[in-house]
Symmetry: C2
DNA sequence: CTGTTAGCGCGTTCAC
DNA sequence: GTGAACGCGCTAACAG
């Protein structure tokens, strides 16, 4: 069965091809009567315009793309929801696209930019460390909403937008909080390579340094490389190994809430209490932290604010109401039940 | 700046347009030397073929689409991962597409079918209750992997594929387990309307009926309609209300693990112990259930098997090695720490 | 092996 | 207001 096209509709309505096109696109120059009739026939026939063909010709598509790297990150779904709302309000269409871990998000963006008629791009969860040369290939405004990557090391000019949290600072904040409680044997659960783990580790070290305290290197535990670095399972396994090693530990700081929850499981399984025997702190502020037992002490990233600012800034830049800029959001130390005095 | 096209590449290489196309598509009939040169120029120029134009002409695209309804469902990400692996192994491209709650997944599929050259479609999380007439519009094989919707009530012919778990049966299983522990005051946390909640409630009733026990209607608690029906927050609020009502309860069965975790938080906040004072059981078998404290008793859906079978069946149907069929997978009652004798 | 040509389905000029 | 013709960028069929 042949695909039904705009031509068939035109024939069936006894009108020209372009009239159908006008009906389809809410073009003003069309007789309401003929327009209504065309839409009826379209309804009956179940005709669906071919998007590929449309994208090929269309000049005015208001469309922005969100490229998400890391579908497993629980923070993203709420961010996406907010971005969706905000774009709809501005009458933009949204293309949501997942980027595989090994894919280059810029390449995907470049491809999408050609395929659809993008007006702007949001990068969620990728790394803002692409060569400027490559970034410059993007012809529409874009913004990196890189929860987890501090920009202070970046040398990008202000010509590119970026919204982030100062990981090093926030990480130091929660470490200092643990130190303030009297903890000294604070195990750090982090990833070995990778900018996020790196920055958060730096914050950890900074907090110790600021108090003139030495960091015990063998309390820095790296998650397993061969599986998702930020999964509960990885946190569990890493902390299990730690506890079995009989190293003395009074607190555990995992650089993500999921790792921290895995850590909790390992601690509980070892027959220890949280926080009486061992305090556990996370980082991210995922919803589960409020529901877990005990409730998780963590650094809460202002996800909603970040999402809102991200999309608004992008829309403003698109509309040339605003210049690209780089913004750092403060995060919040949320003390709950999983941490206590040493 | 004008978009760079295949024509420009051809000119720059001093070859014909179709030769470039051949290089692009790994066509065998091409001189390796010219081919290499073309690819080099493409690399230099940063040329990216326009997908819309390709889709318009291409006839042989091996592409299958996965339409996901309900991004928040924690079970989906692992299913998607498996489906990705399996499709790649068969050298199919994958289009992942999220469907909004209010969108009609069939409409989206229809549109996508025109836009890309789909060979098959997987529906994840939608409802298999579309009129046959509409389903028949889909011209490529598709399969509903409807975790959560029992098919026994469906009157669809075998011409459509569907993979599911028998919700009623499994729900009865876990209810019977609680009854077997001696519980009689078992609160049910479910959604008021909606086929999933409906079927699971039927299972709950069935289990009581089988023992000749009456169901106490006021122990059936409906989640709030105005927010995500299967969120922790909704479970928390619903159970909080329940507990404040002073109705006697010895066990709570929530029809999803997330609801159950919210329920646990409410129970704990009320100063009760799990399972000593109140047992809590969930449904789904999400990973968090193993990490939560206490570990959650639940019905574990065989997500991996379902995902594998789903994609394999689809590929088989596409290749005409197999007829469309409807399969029911058994789920497993996993008893963990959150439930105990009455 | 390679270049030329004819559309894919639609939006966008133009005339009318 | 409307229709015919053109071409978006590319692939496929055909010649060479």
């Amino acid at each position: 069965m042949a695909e039904i096209t705009i031509k068939d509709i035109a024939k069936q309505c006894g009108v020209g091809i372009s009239t159908v096109s006008r009906a389809l696109n809410n073009h003003p120059d069309i007789n309401p009567a003929t327009r209504k009739k065309i839409l009826e026939v379209i309804e009956e026939t179940g005709f669906i315009p071919n998007n590929s063909a449309r994208n090929l010709k269309r000049t005015d598509a208001k469309c922005i793309a969100v490229l998400v790297k890391g579908i497993t990150n629980p923070l993203f779904s709420s961010m996406i929801k907010i971005i969706e709302e905000e774009t709809q309000r501005s009458r933009y269409a949204l293309v949501l696209r997942h980027v595989e871990e090994q894919e280059d998000e810029i390449d995907v963006a470049l491809e999408l930019e050609k395929e659809k008629r993008l007006r702007g791009i949001v990068f969620l969860g990728g790394l803002f460390e692409h060569p400027e040369e490559k970034l410059r290939k993007l012809k529409v405004p874009f913004i990196f909403s890189t929860i987890g990557v501090n920009i202070s090391d970046q040398f990008h000019k202000v010509e590119f937008s970026n919204i982030a949290v100062d990981d090093r600072l926030e990480s130091a904040k929660i470490t200092e909080y643990l130190l303030g409680l009297g903890h000294r044997k604070i195990a750090l659960i982090t990833e070995k390579n990778g900018p996020i783990g790196g920055l958060r580790m730096e914050g950890y070290r900074q907090a110790f340094a600021q108090r003139g305290l030495p960091v015990e290197e063998d309390l820095i535990c790296y998650v397993q490389e061969d599986m998702d670095h930020y999964s509960m399972e990885n946190g569990y396994l890493t902390v299990k190994t730690l506890l079995e090693s009989e190293r003395e530990v009074t607190a555990i700081y995992a650089v993500s809430d999921l790792l921290a929850i895995g850590a909790c499981r390992a601690v509980l399984e070892a027959g220890k209490r949280i926080p009486e025997d061992i305090s556990v702190a996370g980082y991210d502020g995922i919803e589960m932290g409020e529901y877990y037992n005990p409730k998780l002490t963590t650094i809460k990233q202002p996800v909603e604010e970040i999402a809102k600012k991200t999309i608004r800034l992008l829309l403003d830049v698109i509309a040339e109401r605003e210049e690209p800029q780089q913004i750092v959001f403060p995060a919040e130390l949320v003390v709950r039940e999983s941490t206590g005095p040493c």
